[in-house]
Symmetry: C2
Subunit: 127 residues, 2 copies
Amino acid sequence: MQSDPSETELRLLKVLWPEGRLSAREIHDAAAVDTGWSFSTTRKTLERMEAKGLIAAEPLHGIKTFVPLRSKLDVVGGLVTRFARNVLDLDGPLPAAAFTGSRLLDEGEAEELEQLLRDLSEGEGDA
Amino acid sequence: MQSDPSETELRLLKVLWPEGRLSAREIHDAAAVDTGWSFSTTRKTLERMEAKGLIAAEPLHGIKTFVPLRSKLDVVGGLVTRFARNVLDLDGPLPAAAFTGSRLLDEGEAEELEQLLRDLSEGEGDA
DNA sequence: GCATCTATGTGACAAGTGTCGCGCAGGTGC
DNA sequence: GCACCTGCGCGACACTTGTCACATAGATGC
């Protein structure tokens, strides 16, 4: 049962994705400038993210490191789909135009995401 | 202090907006087919929405009626902006293309919303 | 006038979230 | 060997959210 991340959790994922693998301390140091959280908070959030299946904790050389279990495209795609459906009452996928300008996705990724969403919505399209 | 509606609250707003003014019972009857909630739940949700300043309760001929305090465009605009910023890391407004196909907004409204978002983001644009 | 139905007020409760702090255990420096 | 720092497990607490049920006060039918 992997649920979507909350906005808070997403902030940590955003620092983890580009790196691939980081320790709690590293994630915290990178995120804290924006979040302003205490280290405890970062660690607790990481703990809950692990419970949700968003990331995995892997001990490496003695210290605990975290790796993302779901890709950026997968997570963002889920979030976007949910938003489109629940807020906008939109069946089909959002067009790639919606993602242009995003600091989270470069052009290639935006296209990839659009393709992903299209595939998804075809798979579950209504009769 | 008017905060944004949760997805649950949004479902009730969506039945209220087109009508303008409805009693709790009417809102419930219209929403329950989708939500499956008990009447208690609908009423409690309405109560919290009132506390948030999303709607106002006005006694009319003895019974309590509810009217939206924030327009559809205002609310959806806020939600969209928040989503774009927090999830997509996007500064500017979402293009109207994102809204086409939405069952919530007709074409005119989609354009209006785009205009609104544009104005908003100009108003607070960074230096 | 009494039984009934409906509208409202209010309380309850479990999850989920945001945010920490405490305390122990294992290295490190001297 | 002792003092100290850091990583980590765990507990705590307040708030929001989703979901109801209970009980009381009018309004209605006859």
